[in-house]
Symmetry: C2
Subunit: 443 residues, 2 copies
Amino acid sequence: MKRYFRSSCLVFLLCWLVLVSAAAAAERDFVVQGDIVYTPACGEAKILPQGYLVVKEGKVQGTYAELPAAYADLKKQDCRGQLIMPGFCDLHVHAAQYRQIGLGMDESLLTWLEKYTFPEEQKFSDPAYAERVYEDFAAELAKCGTTRAAVYGTIHRQSAEILAQKLAKRGLGAYVGKVNMDRNAPDYLCETSEASLAETEQFVHAPVWTDLVRPILTPRFAPSVTPKLLQDLGDLARRENLPVQTHLSENKGEIQWVAELFPTIRDYPQVYAHYGLYGTTPTLMAHCIHMDAAQIRDLVSHGVYPVFCPESNLNLTSGIMPVRRFLTAGAKVALGSDVGAGHDLFMPHVIVRAIQVSKVRAMEQPEEKALTLPEAFYLATKGGGSFFGKVGSFELGYDADLLIVRTPAALADRSVMERWQYFIYHGTPEDITARYVAGRYVR
Amino acid sequence: MKRYFRSSCLVFLLCWLVLVSAAAAAERDFVVQGDIVYTPACGEAKILPQGYLVVKEGKVQGTYAELPAAYADLKKQDCRGQLIMPGFCDLHVHAAQYRQIGLGMDESLLTWLEKYTFPEEQKFSDPAYAERVYEDFAAELAKCGTTRAAVYGTIHRQSAEILAQKLAKRGLGAYVGKVNMDRNAPDYLCETSEASLAETEQFVHAPVWTDLVRPILTPRFAPSVTPKLLQDLGDLARRENLPVQTHLSENKGEIQWVAELFPTIRDYPQVYAHYGLYGTTPTLMAHCIHMDAAQIRDLVSHGVYPVFCPESNLNLTSGIMPVRRFLTAGAKVALGSDVGAGHDLFMPHVIVRAIQVSKVRAMEQPEEKALTLPEAFYLATKGGGSFFGKVGSFELGYDADLLIVRTPAALADRSVMERWQYFIYHGTPEDITARYVAGRYVR
């Protein structure tokens, strides 16, 4: 009897699991009709007016001018007159600097760090503060149509775990990092090397991770991490196959400082390479402004992603990133808001700034052609999205990360291409009427 | 009896006029309490937390930490917790390009003009189109907190008059220009010299002008106006004491073209000077990017306003305006959105872009220090405002052009200075809860 009861329970449980997952899958099966825009390749805008985007189990099945009969039974959303585009990917953003957006932008980098950034980051030693700020951060990220992000927390493990939970709760996709700093930081933000490593190991095994929200190793940058800890983090990355994010070649003073701190290593990128943090596992390097042709080739051969953060580079007078050189060399360039040195989470603003900054470069170096909108949009979708897998496009098998975007009535007669341009240059988060990540509606 | 009746009528009429103007004046008498920020000098931010701004007959009486007893009876508005700042002045904006915002920004200047700007401007030959677009333009200008603007229409007199009426109806202050083009323009936008002058004379005497909305002569730029018409417009400006707005030294190809068109005149600025259009009457010159030290000194000695349009300069790859050189030389620099080459009417975005562009300049020329926020804000308020008289500041006798601006609750504990920075860098038009021009509420 007891045995019978036990096996009945098991059968029931299995049935229930099958039903629940079928329901969950069905929730992620739908067709949406509207003006589809995406960039399957850098610089190539694919436009399908009043097209159908078919999603099954959260993945794109395809885009069609006519809905194939096989999908006739799927739940259909009528978004005609609205744009359907991939969600944005922000590959460099400091969640803990969310509250300091726009503050102290007249200050020099060092004053800005000391007066605003470090005191603000210190507040995240209090998990209650993290609860409040990260709740708002995740909400604004979602509102802005950013569906995937590579996010920095602070050195505080518990708060960084809260950050991961807040992003997961919103249904966003993200890599989340607990920052490492065991030297050259204010006392109140400086860890011991041992504690930093131990906390990081605990962090990457915390019970907060989901399919969409994953941990990433985050040494702040070479000057604030000892060689010993860099080595330990490199070992950890390799051992557990963990991705890595940090900063590289943002300004000339920093490069000089790194040369002094690591006198036996050839250059700044090689410091990370030396410790196994330069493409051994998937790697994001924010900024990469001051790099020569050989360094760019080397970055490409390591498969490292340079993350172009134009708003931040302007605000901090860091320099003009030669984005065309990276693209020509075959680099997997991504875009980042770099909030709080950047002052805006809304990626269309970052796309426009990327184009503008590339135009500044083109003024002086006409052979380095400025980015076009279909190029910069690609960087903010499929380019950065590739760090997360098949993300940021509407080809077969891509995660269904998408935005529905309305156009003002006065522009309803414009072409899809023009309405897309209008949204990127003049749109606001309020124009986004719906967001999906991997086929799930973002609330 | 008849005579008695007539004088009674006159007395009645006079009483009525006195009463009405007293009521109108009273409407413009008030005190508003809140966190006051303004820039009485370039780079000097004056901050008065929970201060009182006193307005009588639409003019600022003063700002006070405590409300003087003499003003105790004035109607009081409690805006504590909100910022009170001067309205923005946009000294270069093409209202007729409002519908092309953000379109074709990947194109070269010439293609952009031919594909977007000229066909769009042509539509304003139809006053009904002007009615619709200028209604929306004026509404968005007001929403964005721009209280004063120097605005270009098209060559079409009737539509330009509609533009003036729409701005007046909103209660905004503006100079409005009917554009002159009698050569080097598409046939459908090219006037005869005689018609262009006659229409302009009719325009400046049209029954549409008010205290706040006034006409301005607007030859498009030297290449599209014949020497004869430039001369006639210069004479008209002098004869009727009319201000002038046009474009100067925006890009190198244009400068070369002007040299070819006016081979006997020394340089581009001198072309305008030659025809009495360079400071003979108050003059706005948009862009002024490629000018040497002697030209800058000459511009200053003519009292001409250079209008810095950073967003447009980036979008059209025009160049980096050396704003610090102009300021050091004592020029009266103003800011302009330059919509539609600029893609945004919201002046805080233009302020930030001005700072960013000046940082680009500082990267290469460290002696040309970047603009600070209190400098760029001054340019967008009192700097440009001075073109309209005592406008853009809160000193005694200034027109009471002001904005009330809310701060997100999460930042309520920040200093006034920080909340001001936050609004400029991260705010939106929705944060502006009220606007006044010369003491009148803008609806």
